[in-house]
């Protein structure tokens, strides 16, 4: 571990913090284009964050300290998740802090805090949102774990950097297990990031919202942090998906040149992935909340089959 390792770690965190709202803006732009609307500016999420950070903070009269701490906890969890997912380089000083299983735990921690905070103020919508969030979470987590396990079966390790390192250096071969895992991962990330068909990130229609219901009572800088954390989560999931299934271009050697080459590659992959995500959202309709368990059961099943196929075929 040397200076360059720390440099790439810092670069990765900074990049995640700066690029995450841009990715959200990019996806929103594509969504608008696909719906034949005129698109908002690419910088709209930054403007929104700027506006919210300068607004007055309004707290409910009986809000506890948990309610006030939650935005910072959630933001911290997502920033750490972005730091340990190897998006630019596989040589990260922070990566021993959490492996693939702890990464899922990190997302779960954020979910528990935000659900508790939503119930804390005692409005009906917060409780409703919290229950739905937990329903989705408890089905999505095992599926996500199974996806990560089928990737770690290939590399015999649960450390994210080792997994990505192995996947990036394999010979060109077709892995049926990774195809299953890829489909499952896409489904899980749609559910976890409150995208259509599970939830609509743009809705404020009371009866269908999940993520928006959770943060309904927040305002000012708290809301800004939560919005930023949601962008970071999407960024983390996108980077994890790209690192697991399209790991080409991630720097492994400790050289400034490799890092410099990895950066445009990552941005290109994120741009393509964001456009595809918007397309996927555009062609699917939001499903009924009671169909969501079915959707996530399918994701879980595909991930398990991926593991089984891996064991059967040995690849």
């Amino acid at each position: 571990m040397n200076v360059l390792g720390y440099l790439s770690q810092i670069l990765e965190i900074l990049l995640a913090l700066l690029l995450a709202p841009l990715l959200t803006g990019w996806i929103n732009q594509w969504r608008a284009w696909l719906q034949n609307r005129s698109a908002p500016s690419l910088l709209q999420p930054y403007r929104k964050l700027h506006k919210l950070f300068h607004k007055e903070l309004v707290l409910a009269g009986h809000a506890s300290s948990l309610y006030r701490a939650t935005p910072y906890v959630v933001f911290g969890c997502m920033a750490l998740a972005c730091a340990i997912i190897p998006s630019l380089s596989t040589d990260l000083p922070l990566s021993p802090a959490a492996d693939a299983i702890a990464l899922v735990g990190l997302f779960a921690l954020a979910r528990v805090f935000i659900s508790l905070a939503a119930m804390d103020v005692g409005t009906a919508f917060g409780t409703l949102g919290a229950r739905r969030e937990m329903l989705i979470g408890f089905l999505a987590e095992p599926a996500l774990l199974m996806v990560l396990f089928s990737a770690s079966l290939l590399s015999r390790s649960t450390s994210l950097t080792t997994i990505v390192d192995t996947l990036a250096h394999r010979d060109l071969a077709i892995y049926p297990s990774l195809a299953f895992a890829g489909v499952a991962f896409t489904m899980v990330s749609l559910a976890e990031n409150a995208r259509i068909p599970v939830d609509n990130p743009a809705t404020h229609l009371e009866l269908t919202m999940i993520h928006e219901a959770l943060i309904l009572e927040y305002s000012g800088r708290h809301l800004a942090l939560l919005e930023w954390a949601a962008s970071l989560k999407l960024f983390a999931y996108s980077c994890a998906g790209l690192a697991l299934f399209f790991p080409w271009g991630i720097a492994d050697a400790l050289s400034p040149l490799a890092l410099l080459l990895a950066l445009p590659m990552l941005i290109l992959k994120l741009a393509l992935g964001g456009a595809l995500l918007a397309l996927l959202e555009g062609v699917s309709a939001k499903m009924r909340i009671f169909r969501v368990p079915e959707f996530l059961a399918t994701a879980f099943l595909l991930a398990v089959i991926g593991m089984l196929v891996n064991i059967l075929l040995g690849v």
Binding site: A173, Y175, V183, E294, A297, L301, L302, I305, V309, L312
Partner: protein
């Protein structure tokens, strides 16, 4: 090159398994027919590739028969049947879908375990996929059990035949030509008879629910 082709066959086998699960979780009859067509097309590709690698011309014939029958003719017949019967939409399942899928996972594990010693004795290029073929057969069988309407049951039956065909290709490079032609004809005649049968069920009971058939006497 050979390793790459083996991997490609494995991928096609994995797609077959995915399609079997998609059929199991599907509620619409129309989508079921599309999935069945897709399954047939995957089977054609797998058979043709195995034939190409092993240089066995009779596999080309069976791929051609599969193409004509299972990708073109039978889906067309099924489309006509559901158009006439006017049953394009929802399918009732007897067990709810997440439970069905969990049972499906158990079936897959069972067939993988069962097929392992057999595929170790075999020396064909696609021996690893025997477990997947067996799983496809069992999953289609379960689809026949869990559906209460006649059309999805027929589609389950047809996809079971697809699974058997793939198992034969994977384990022994296909059955003898006479047997294969016989089965192809059987399936075709079977679908015609079942089509007529469905019209009769419908005429008799005003519904395609086969539970009505359990009654022996008219009330």
């Amino acid at each position: 090159m050979s390793a790459f082709i083996t991997q490609f066959i494995n991928l096609l086998a994995a797609i077959l398994l995915m399609l079997a699960f998609a059929m199991l979780s599907q509620r619409r009859i129309l989508s079921l027919i599309y999935l069945y067509t897709l399954q047939g097309a995957t089977l054609v590709a797998a058979t043709a590739i195995v034939g190409f690698v092993t240089g066995q011309p009779h596999l080309y014939f069976s791929a051609a028969i599969t193409l004509v029958l299972k990708v073109l003719l039978i889906p067309m017949l099924l489309h006509r049947v559901i158009d006439r019967l006017n049953v394009r939409w929802d399918v009732e399942t007897l067990i709810n879908i997440p439970t069905t899928m969990l049972i499906g996972i158990v079936l897959v594990m069972f067939s993988f375990y069962l097929a392992e010693p057999i595929s170790q004795m075999s020396s064909t290029i696609a021996r690893g996929t025997l477990g997947i073929a067996l799983a496809c057969v069992l999953l289609s069988f379960m689809m026949m059990i869990t559906r209460s309407k006649a059309v999805p049951q027929v589609i389950g039956f047809l996809s079971m035949e697809n699974g058997l065909f793939f198992a034969a290709t994977a384990a022994t490079y296909g059955m003898p030509m006479v047997v294969e032609l016989g089965i192809a004809l059987d399936v075709l005649v079977g679908i015609l008879i079942l089509g007529v049968f469905m019209f009769h069920i419908r005429e008799q009971f005003d519904s395609l629910d086969i539970r009505h058939l359990e009654k022996l006497k008219e009330d």
